[in-house]
């Protein structure tokens, strides 16, 4: 027996101190293995075959020629694949997207729908056979046309009410001294995580084992158990290292197809998506068209706010990109109306993508606020100060903390905002016109029930088991620091295990809620463990383990408006003779709760702001009307910012601990992208005098706007 007391080496202060990633060395040396490269004996490879029509039925699949090709083991399709169950509650309680129930029927609801899986001894053989597989379709006319005022649009709830309304809009607009009434659009956008989706499934002694790349093994294991009618305890999903997710890495067709093939062949099967397949199988952010009407008194005080957003979804599943939701948090008005509408088209089902709702919604509302500031001859920051609500504009609830104006004040000082001449089109540096812009940011901050276990080991170290997902965010490192402080030891005494469904249920890496949810469970388990260690009975060889479950504590939280906030600043240069826009510098100041690890937090926030540059200037998936599929569905055709597009970006924060959280955390995963595109668009206006209300702000649009001005 070893005797250890935590008091002898009491250490605090790990939280809030910069710490490099604990798995950083493994990642940069290649020792960290990702889902698609973990070796398995007897591994077979599956290759998905996607539909080449946008609507219709599969008439037949010519499997015979392909089954004779070298190495081919099997072709799964709707006539021979195992049946799965889809009548169960999904992640948020609603029915799951039937897209994951592959090969269950002959209907094709969009281009790129999975119609078969070819399994072979090697990945190359599977691919060659998959590309050779002839599938006959009964093609039907498709409709992928998305536009404002679509007659089939309807208001829909996603993770929030579809419509909110208080007060009468028209009288308030009529009484307003100043009115802004504009339409803003954002294009279809894709997550494009660096690591493509990959899963390997095998049966081992009656247990289904899946090695995957996902944002939550609890989520994926639960859905697979439901789909295949398995005892949840007999499904084991692991996801140790994940090269980005951004909302796209939940349950997807590749895992389900891999399980089907592993079941049919009784050997391990791996299915990996290609980049091109990701464009139709991994989810995406719907395009939006948003109408914003603002009415204000001459002093800028809002009388009317009307934000109406239209997004699209597939014909098989209802998903809402709730872009109008951001107005329910940010600004109040006597008449305040918001609506999220959707239209169903012959396209893949969209999904959550970094900053769902807030990212496109903030582009519209924060651009409109800049236009209102211009019309009121008010500084854009002062306009926001004058419209800062005391309570949730729709809910009437108090904010758990709302340090938005503190962010603007700190950011304005650091950015040099006070010296800004508000007039557009005045500053020049050679061929470049220069301008600056700002916008507000917010994203919900929440916590979801999670379990954790911490073992005090006989050697004086601690093993933390928490089914978190580190999708590149630094979660493993953040939880190491949190456990170290909670146990009052140095971080090198902590070993964090995550990404393993056998660790027990926990929140996914999503909704900016991961770190807070997991930290809560770890803190609770650590408190319990310290009490037991304080009894001083020594540690047996197997260690002492304490477990936590935060369901009750989180359920007891009082209803409040809980959000992270931020202020975005951007300076751009625009050459109106070529249409080129270059961001010269950006600053984001955030009120996002207690910052656990400044190093990885800054990385997250700067990453979000960088994505904001892409959103403002580059990202756009083009849907080809004739075929219903994409044009240029690869990283040559779908542009994200290159290094040369990313200037000096700074992210900082104000002191903003959440009073209702044991560690004071809110969440930083998504707020960094929110408002960034609007700040850039507002800066483009300041540079040129031309408003750009359609993203991305491409050179051709800038050039022709200049021509027509």
């Amino acid at each position: 027996m070893t005797t250890v007391t935590t008091g002898t080496r009491a250490v605090k202060g790990s939280v809030g101190t910069a710490h490099t990633r604990v798995e950083g060395r493994d990642k940069v040396t290649g020792a960290a293995r990702y889902a698609g490269e973990i070796p398995f004996a007897e591994l077979a490879h599956g290759w998905l075959v996607l539909s080449t029509v946008a609507r219709g039925r599969v008439r037949s699949v010519d499997t015979a020629p392909v089954l004779g090709m070298p190495g081919v083991l099997s072709v799964l399709h709707h006539e021979n694949a195992p049946r799965v169950e889809t009548d169960y509650p999904g992640l948020l309680g609603s029915a799951p997207d039937p897209t994951v129930a592959v090969f269950q029927h002959d209907r094709v609801p969009h281009m790129g729908w999975p119609v078969a899986l070819v399994v072979a001894e090697t990945s190359e053989q599977a691919r060659e056979a998959a590309e050779a597989l002839v599938v006959h379709y009964e093609e039907e006319p498709h409709d992928v046309d998305f536009y404002a005022g679509h007659p089939d649009a309807y208001a829909a709830e996603g993770h929030m009410p579809g419509v909110t309304a208080k007060g009468d809009l028209e009288p308030e607009l009529a009484a307003s001294a100043v009115v802004v009434d504009e339409r803003y659009t954002t294009p279809e956008e894709h997550h494009n995580s660096m690591e493509p989706h990959a899963a390997t499934a095998r049966w081992d002694g009656g247990r289904l084992e899946v090695v995957d790349s996902n944002q939550g093994t609890t989520w994926v294991a639960g859905e697979l158990a439901n789909l295949f009618s398995l005892d949840p305890a007999s499904v084991w999903v692991r996801s140790e290292h994940v090269g980005g997710g951004f909302g796209s890495k939940g349950v997807r067709p590749h895992q389900v197809a891999a399980v089907m093939a592993a079941t049919a062949l009784q050997r391990p099967v791996r299915v990996v998506m290609t980049r091109r397949q990701m464009f139709s199988l991994a989810g995406y952010r719907s395009p939006t068209t948003q109408q914003v009407r603002l009415g204000a008194d001459a002093d800028g005080r809002l009388r009317a706010l009307d934000h109406s957003s239209l997004s699209l979804t597939s014909t098989v599943h209802e998903f809402v990109e709730p872009s109008a939701g951001v107005a329910r948090v940010m600004y109040d008005a006597d008449a305040h109306h918001t609506a999220n509408r959707i239209v169903r088209l012959d396209v893949p089902t969209p999904t959550w993508m970094r900053g769902p709702g807030e990212a496109p919604g903030s582009f519209a509302i924060e651009s409109a606020f800049d236009e209102l500031a211009e019309k009121c001859a008010l500084d854009p920051i002062e306009l926001r100060v004058r419209n800062e609500p005391a309570l949730g504009p729709v809910s009437g609830l108090p904010f758990s903390g709302r340090n938005l104006i503190a962010c603007f004040r700190k950011g304005a000082g650091r950015f040099g905002w006070a010296d800004r001449d508000p007039r557009p089109g005045l500053r020049r540096d050679g061929r470049w016109l220069l301008g600056t812009g700002t916008a507000a940011a917010s994203f919900p901050a929440g916590a979801a029930p999670s379990t954790a276990a911490i073992t005090a080991e006989a050697d004086g170290t601690f093993t933390v088991g928490i089914n978190a997902a580190d999708i590149g965010t630094g979660a493993r490192t953040a939880l190491t620091l949190i456990a170290a402080d909670a146990l009052e030891v140095a971080p090198d005494h902590i070993r964090v295990r995550l990404g393993d469904s056998d660790l027990g249920p926990a929140m996914i890496a999503g909704g900016s809620m991961g770190t807070r949810s997991w930290a809560w469970a770890v803190t609770a388990a650590a408190g319990d463990l310290r009490e037991r260690l304080a009894l001083g009975d020594g540690i047996p060889p197997e260690g002492i383990t304490a477990r936590s479950n935060t369901t009750e504590a989180i359920g007891a939280l009082a209803p409040k408006e809980r959000h992270s906030f931020g202020a975005q600043f951007a300076e751009v240069a625009v050459d109106v003779t070529t249409g080129e826009v270059r961001v010269r510098r950006m600053l984001g100041v955030f009120a996002a709760g207690r910052i656990v690890n400044p190093l990885t937090a800054r990385n997250q926030l700067v990453g979000g702001m960088t994505w904001g540059i892409s959103m403002a200037l580059h990202e756009e998936a083009v849907r080809d009307r004739a075929t219903g599929g994409h044009y240029g569905a690869d990283l040559a055709g779908y542009h994200v910012a290159a290094h040369a597009d990313v200037p000096h970006i700074e992210a900082d924060w104000v002191d903003d601990p959440d009073p209702d959280d044991p560690v004071g955390i809110k969440g930083i995963g998504e707020v960094g992208i929110v408002g960034a595109a609007a700040a850039i668009a507002n800066a483009v206006w300041h540079a040129t005098g031309v408003r750009h209300r359609n993203l991305p702000i491409r050179p051709d649009r800038v050039l022709m706007a200049g021509e027509n001005a």
Binding site: G579, R582, H618, D624, A626, Y631, A642, M704
Partner: protein, 330 residues
């Protein structure tokens, strides 16, 4: 991916003999385009003949002051070559404006000229494309075409040639030398690419199985005062939406010699000869430059969503010639 044979060759005659014997074989240079197209199924060669080890990897200064560039010289080496930088700065700038450092280390001069269009319909085997499957149609004309051709296109194809290097080479009257099993030949770069017409799948005038061995630049004193300017939809690592190679010699305020070529506007690097004719002997001022651009661009036939290229190219001509005129008189 279809299985394929691979063979490395060390002499030119061996290389052309292999392709002469096998119509399904392709030469492999840096592989920066061909390998991508093989992965997506656009190209399905039975055999790759790797020409990287051929003794064609030098840039020679000719006695007349021109340059003879071997076909396997990498983009990186070409851009860094002191005589290229001194005598044809627009060529070095054009090469450095393309791709990324890693790609430029692999890509070769011969391969650059024979790379395929980046039209998204051409690259996607699930879609029609007259260039890939003759007679299947051109969906770009009624579909996505905001970065397609405004000059020299046809009802059958509106794809552009993606090369930056080729635009500068075209401006400087490059001549392409090649070898075939039946002997050598040469063709001016301006004539290498065939008119689109109703045969967009036939891209070059090279005989079947020909191997580009050299690109020769004749001496051109005007090229010492030259620039390449590329406009693209992000700051780096993107194909042009419009580019220009320009060289200008001015004496006493009058244009003595001028070279102009456009990129990303046609199925080939576009030599702006109409503009050059207008400028010969004209005053070197913005008005003349604009008139020259207009003379070239009257032939433009923009589609509904790429008309901006007419404005863009006009602006680029004026901006770059103005800058060169300033530099010439400095």
């Amino acid at each position: 991916m279809k299985e394929f044979g691979y063979q490395r060759v060390f002499d030119v005659s061996g290389a052309v003999a292999l392709l002469d014997a096998d119509p399904d074989a392709r030469f492999l240079g840096g592989g920066t385009n061909l390998v991508d197209l093989m992965k997506t199924g656009v190209e399905r060669p039975a055999r790759l003949v790797d020409v990287r080890e051929l003794p064609l990897d030098t840039v020679e200064l000719m006695r007349d002051g021109g340059l003879r560039i071997g076909a396997t010289v990498t983009n990186s080496d070409l851009a860094a070559h002191p005589e290229v930088r001194r005598r044809y700065p627009a060529l070095a700038q054009a090469v450095l404006a393309g791709a990324s450092g890693q790609l430029r280390n692999m890509a070769t001069v011969g391969g650059n000229l024979l790379q395929r269009t980046r039209c998204g319909y051409f690259a996607d085997v699930t879609k029609p494309c007259n260039k890939r499957v003759p007679g299947s149609g051109c969906p770009a004309i009624k579909g996505e075409h905001h970065n397609h051709a405004i000059l020299g296109a046809s009802d059958h194809c509106v794809a552009t040639h993606p090369s930056d290097m080729g635009v500068a080479l075209t401006a400087f009257d490059a001549v392409v030398s090649y070898e075939t099993a039946d002997g050598p030949g040469e063709v001016p770069l301006s004539w290498l690419y065939l008119p689109v017409g109703d045969t967009p799948h036939r891209e070059t005038d090279l005989p079947q199985g020909a191997l580009i061995t050299h690109v020769t630049l004749p001496p051109a004193p005007v090229a010492a005062n030259s620039r390449y300017r590329k406009v693209r939809e992000r700051a780096s690592y993107a194909f042009a939406i419009g580019s220009i190679a320009a060289a200008l010699d001015v004496q006493d305020g009058v244009v003595r010699d001028v070279r102009l070529a456009f990129g990303a506007v046609a199925s080939r690097p576009w030599r702006a000869r109409a503009a050059e004719r207008v400028l010969a002997g004209a005053p070197a001022d913005a008005e003349a430059f604009a008139a020259a651009a207009d003379a070239e661009l009257t032939a433009a036939r923009p589609l509904p969503h790429n008309g901006y290229k007419v404005t863009l190219m006009r602006n680029l001509v004026v901006a770059e010639l103005t800058r060169l005129a300033e530099e010439a008189t400095r």
